[in-house]
């Protein structure tokens, strides 16, 4: 067995063993789906936009991945507190292998979590086109990697959980709300549209929505290029910051 593999497997074990956390993490996307989906649905339909649940579901799947991936990066802080991080940092493996194992593990867990949210959306009445499902999965994986990169970067810099609210309110929620997850982009006010266009997550939502519902706003190629490029850059930043950790 390889150090990268065992660190990857550790993340998966931790995810499946913490049932309460797993179910708890499903609560938020389900709440958004039900409350917004059925609450705003009639208004959305009257505006001639069709079925809101159908529109919203890819955004909710993205939300599930976003939260889970960022938190798995932030787990570095917990591992630092509970001391496990030191065990890995004095082992005769390079920091790159450690961060690779962690990132792969975090992204895999986020992808699994996103898939569960996807299934929940199906139960709630979401009917995607099956043709481009593999492309949708690719977008989900890219979103997972990008967000794990963000989480790793943040988790490597923060010393303790004091900054937790900061991360939620100034990174995770803005990424989510200023993306196209909840509303269509074209009719937005100029400033808002700019914010959405500058938000990397928008390209994830657009790619996923395009693959599942048809109709890309930015275009599949641009979505893939932006997400792929940013995932690589953010993962590199995360890995670099992780390599600077002192315990």
């Amino acid at each position: 067995m390889n150090p990268v593999f065992i660190l990857w497997r550790r993340q998966l074990k931790r995810y499946f063993r913490a049932r309460a956390r797993m179910i708890g993490a499903l609560g938020q996307p389900i709440l958004f789906l039900l409350a917004l989906g059925f609450g705003l649905g009639p208004t959305f339909a009257r505006a001639g936009r069709g079925d809101y649940v159908q529109f919203l579901a890819p955004g909710i799947v993205t939300m599930g991945i976003l939260f889970n991936a960022v938190f798995s990066g932030i787990e570095i802080i917990w591992d630092r507190q509970f001391g496990f991080l030191k065990e890995t940092l004095v082992a005769p493996v390079s920091r790159l292998e450690i961060v690779l194992g962690r990132t792969l593990g975090g992204a895999t867990v986020a992808l699994i979590h996103g898939s569960i949210v996807f299934l929940v959306c199906l139960v709630a009445g979401f009917r995607p086109q099956p043709l481009l499902l593999p492309l949708a999965l690719l977008f989900m994986a890219l979103i997972a990697f990008m967000c794990t990169g963000i989480g790793t970067a943040v988790g490597s810099v923060l010393q303790d959980m004091q900054g937790f609210q900061l991360i939620i309110n100034f990174i995770v929620l803005p990424l989510f709300f200023f993306s196209s997850a909840l509303f269509p982009v074209p009719e937005l006010p100029e400033a808002m549209r700019l914010a959405v266009r500058l938000n990397p997550l928008s390209y994830g939502v657009d790619g996923l929505r395009g693959a599942l519902n048809g109709g890309f706003v930015f275009g599949a190629a641009i979505d893939l290029a932006v997400l792929g490029g940013l995932a690589a850059i953010l993962l590199a930043i995360g890995a670099w910051l992780f390599s600077k950790i002192e315990v």
């Binding site: 660190l7 931790r14 507190q81 002192e246």
Partner: protein
Amino acid sequence: MMGAIIEACDLVKRFNGFTAVDHVSFAVPEGVIFGFLGPNGAGKTTTIRMLTTVLSPSEGRLLIAGHDPVKEPLLVRRAFGIVFQDPSLDGELTAAENMELHGVLYRVPRAERRERVEALLRFVGLWERRGDYVKRFSGGMRRRLEIARALLHRPRILFLDEPTAGLDPQTRNQIWEFIRGLCRDEHVTVFFTTHYMEEAERVADQIAIIDHGQIVAQGTATTLRQETGGRTLEDAFITLTGHSIREAEATPIDRMRMMRQVWRGRR
């Protein structure tokens, strides 16, 4: 020095102008149990962190098992096992899984890993509990597991940073029996710190006392007692380091741990 497995020569570590370790030199011969003592904030943990490649020295020379920790960190890391002052197990994994993870990180071949995990867990009396989550273990059990884990990859040196802190006397004695037994069987050199002077007196073949970042005395428990005219090692320690109480500043991690304890207490 011939036969020294740890050699520190004029070791210095500065943090923003503050000198935590100030021209420290010592040598630990292979096979001995070496006690590194000093009051809080004297520079013990900083020294251990430099010896274990986690921190690089500002000045001076270090040789661990013949390698320079700055230039060849991976070779040095393979040569030692460490039990940290704070716990370092994954509570969400079982005892056996924690051991396996360590074995894989240290690239111990599969067959040997299996055999070592069983032998060591049996030795520290945790084999029957190998499938239990570590979060359900007592402090003493965790320590035993950490010691077993640190020896899994057959290191030549075992670092123990206050291995018995916070444990009751029965458990402390038991832990030392395990350490001594294992190190005898495995021919491991032990480098430890402790605040319990009677432990150091009983266990250590050689002792160095550090204070304000400098070594103030070196020798055996007997020679230190004789030099200072004290009855016990504790007398010698107080004579050498004075009566004043050292204030150590809490790190963010300490504060977080305190918060966790508060939360646990409420539940």
